[in-house]
């Protein structure tokens, strides 16, 4: 039978991560540096709260927007950590991961033909979600010489009279780049002048290694035009719980809630109870994990230095993004060959956009022992290349 499917969906390319995943899945004993999720288990007190919620029979739907108690804790947390002030009941929506919040934000804002500016390399979901919402994605290729930060001039050049949204995703997957306050202030000027919205994916906000994260929503004049997206996956090692949230102007959150109500009903109830515990008592867990990530980050950067592999210093998330151009291979060729010869899996930078060409995404959400072995393999791999 031939299936008459949506042209729009058919035309979306499958994720570049997926393609590489299928290749790796066929092999045995692979040392992976390819994951985008923490290696830590969810801290026990949070899991325990989940178990308690099950025992208590908290197995029903919550309100569409999420437990009131959770929304209040989210707002307390955002205030405490990032000086942001949101109203729990009208400006906060609990979602199924940051992923859902990204999708909702686009669908609530976009009219057919609106342009969404997406700085790449970036997480794989923005472009497809924008397309599914009938927008035209406009890509900005971020530059290694700017440490993969977005420059106001680059933004200005990409804006047309159709531009509706700028996607900001810092700390960044896959580069590990961050945007500091001064960088954001420059961007904010252009955004305000051109009267566009920002969808700010700050899922890695807790994981910065040079000062504290600044949210663009905190910059003067930005709160009214920003949809802030965050979640529990990375900060609390809760990827499988599927829980995130969006905060923003109530007019936008209201429309996002409408879509969420019809498509999802509500985020998982037990996860929401566990998340309350995470926000109330999880600060020290974050500190512990962050210290470990930072040690691994330094370990990798120093290993690259020893091997003479160029890599800018990334100050966020749990990725490093070394440049492999000097080996005369594309990212994909390098990653394939590295997999075939040393059985180590890294993700080619091109999985995150064309501007990732010449780079690899290496995740340090792994034990130091795992990283040590992988770096030895990388060393022997490039030694062979040089011969």
């Amino acid at each position: 039978m031939t299936y008459n499917l949506s042209e729009k969906v058919l035309n979306i390319k499958p994720s570049g991560i997926r393609k590489f995943f299928d290749l790796v899945a066929e092999r045995k004993g692979v040392i992976s540096l390819g994951v985008g999720e923490p290696d830590f288990n969810t801290p026990w007190h949070i899991r325990d709260e989940g178990i308690y919620a099950f025992e208590k029979g908290r197995t029903f739907y919550t309100s569409n927007s999420g437990l009131k108690e959770l929304r209040i804790e989210i707002c307390n947390y955002l205030h405490r950590k990032f000086h942001l002030t949101y109203e729990a009941l009208t400006e906060t929506l609990v979602t199924v991961g940051g992923s859902e919040a990204i999708d909702l934000a686009f669908r609530a804002l976009i009219n057919e033909g609106d342009e969404v500016i997406i700085p790449e390399p970036c997480y794989v979901s923005y472009k497809p979600c924008a397309i599914l919402a009938n927008a035209k994605p406009v890509v900005i290729d971020l530059k290694a010489e700017n440490d993969f930060r977005l420059k106001a001039s680059e933004l200005r050049n990409a804006i047309t009279d159709k531009t509706k949204i700028l996607v900001l995703a810092f700390p960044n997957n896959p580069t590990g780049a961050i945007m500091e306050r001064k960088d954001l202030e420059e961007i904010a000027k252009v955004v305000i002048e051109k009267n566009i919205y920002v969808v700010s994916d700050e899922i890695y906000a807790e994981l910065t290694y040079k000062g504290k994260h600044t949210s663009i929503a905190e910059i003067n004049g930005m709160k009214d035009r920003t949809i802030l997206i965050n979640g529990f996956s990375k900060a609390y090692a809760m990827t499988g719980w599927r829980l995130g949230y969006a905060c923003g102007p109530k007019e936008i959150i209201q429309q996002m809630t409408k879509i969420h109500q019809f498509a999802i009903m509500c985020a998982p109830t037990v996860s929401q109870y566990a998340a309350v515990e995470a926000l109330k008592n999880g600060d020290s867990d974050i500190e512990m994990m962050k210290e470990a990530y930072n040690q691994r980050r330094r370990f990798l950067l120093n290993s690259f230095k020893e091997m003479d592999i160029p890599c800018f210093e990334p100050y966020g998330a749990f990725y490093v993004f070394p440049c492999i151009k000097k080996y005369g291979m594309t990212s994909e060729e390098f990653a394939m060959k590295f997999l075939e010869e040393e059985n180590v899996a890294v993700v080619p930078g091109t999985a995150f956009g064309d501007s990732g060409e010449g780079f690899l995404r290496i995740s340090y959400a792994y034990s130091i022992d795992n990283l040590k072995v992988a770096m030895e393999k990388l060393k022997s791999f490039i030694a062979k290349l040089k011969q």
Binding site: F21, V24, A25, G34, V35, R296, R298, K372
Partner: protein
């Protein structure tokens, strides 16, 4: 770096100094200097290995002994504690608040040996008023480490 270094080796004393240097962004010489300083200051008091003897069927009996003592004039509990902790069989000795005074952890090859230590040596010390001995039946977790093998990395390899 001092505290971070200590936190790192607290759970893995075998981690090599070259690796530590890279993780803390200092030279290996810095690490070696700091470690020997910490050792000479007796901040680092030793390096040990956590062994689950049961897995190779070696008999070990561990007991927790609550000891009530009369403190001695001018010396408090320290003098009597010293007389107890100097026995090599004593693995740990702590001054405790609450219902008794000193907690002694003893490790021996058999129940009998523990019993004879308590009756012959511990109870006969003149300041010891009473003892209560608890035998450990099963160790679940020791030194912050769960003794059952933890499951492997079951994440997807790429995500």
């Amino acid at each position: 770096m001092r505290e971070e270094l200590l936190r790192l080796i607290e759970n893995n004393s075998r981690i090599d100094t070259k690796e530590l240097a890279k993780m803390l962004n200092v030279t290996e010489v810095d690490i070696l200097n700091e470690l020997s300083k910490l050792e000479s200051e007796n901040v680092i008091c030793g390096y040990f290995t956590l062994i689950d003897w049961e897995k190779i069927s070696v008999e070990k009996v561990t007991a927790l002994i609550e000891v009530r003592v009369t403190p001695q004039r001018g010396q408090g509990f320290d003098k009597i504690a010293e007389r107890i902790y100097n026995y090599p069989e004593v693995k740990s000795a702590y001054l405790i608040s609450g219902g008794y005074d000193i907690l002694v952890i003893l490790e021996e090859k058999s129940l009998k040996e523990i019993a004879s230590f308590v009756s012959d040596k511990l109870s006969t010390l003149e300041s010891v008023l009473s003892t209560a001995t608890h035998f450990i039946l099963k160790k679940y977790k020791d030194m912050g480490t769960i003794l059952e093998k933890q499951h492997d990395d079951d994440r997807e390899v790429i995500s």
